[in-house]
Amino acid sequence: DTAVSQTPKYLVTQMGNDKSIKCEQNLGHDTMYWYKQDSKKFLKIMFSYNNKELIINETVPNRFSPKSPDKAHLNLHINSLELGDSAVYFCASSQDWADTQYFGPGTRLTVL
């Protein structure tokens, strides 16, 4: 009965590959987010979706493409992976902008 789940938890891949990270929330929330946490632990918003509509795209390279098939899912697809993409990626959800965001367990992506 995990509230926000992500798969996989760990992802190791070669430069140039394409990979996807999946996120699902069972909280009935309307808004979902992707954050990136770099090696210095700094967390930064990448995207947010509200009811499947893109709200925030925070100057992320267009190699990153979020997809929201329904309100409960927000997946992140990354093309042509680069070394600098190595990070922990967190999915989060909230009912409304002012509500608490609940985070998934994170996906540690390592690009070799």
């Binding site: 808004t31 987010y33 954050y35 210095k40 632990k41 700094f42 967390l43 930064k44 918003i45 947010s48 709200i55 925030i56 925070e58 922990v88 967190f90 989060a92 902008w97 002012a98 608490t100 965001q101 609940y102 985070f103 367990p105 994170g106 540690r108």
Partner: protein
């Protein structure tokens, strides 16, 4: 643009003592929310406490309380009777209402170690 500053990269305290983590922010907004999140070694981001800017009363959650000084744009977290399980990275975060700008802006974090 909003910014959040945590000036203490690392802190350590003896178990059972009280510790205060600092956070300042910069904004021209009047309607906003402030949060403290905890990230233990497990990597999970856990909400510790939340404060609405329009509320003058400081939020408390068991051993965790905040000192919210709106005029000074300061939002510090006090942990009383610290426990070993409090060892974690602590992030201060800000969110304001702005069209297309409803996002958490995080500080750089404070690594807190509770010493047995």
């Amino acid at each position: 643009a909003q910014t959040v500053t945590q000036s203490q990269p690392e802190m350590s305290v003896q178990e059972a003592e009280t510790v205060t983590l600092s956070c300042t922010y910069d904004t021209s907004e009047s309607n906003y929310y402030l949060f403290w999140y905890k990230q233990p070694p497990s990597r999970q981001m856990i909400l510790v406490i939340r404060q609405e800017a329009y509320k003058q009363q400081n939020a408390t959650e068991n051993r965790f309380s905040v000192n919210f000084q709106k005029a000074a744009k300061s939002f510090s977290l006090k942990i009383s009777d610290s426990q070993l399980g409090d060892t974690a990275m602590y992030f201060c975060a800000f969110m304001s209402r702005g069209f297309g700008n409803e996002k958490l802006t995080f500080g750089t974090g404070t690594r807190l170690t509770i010493i047995p």
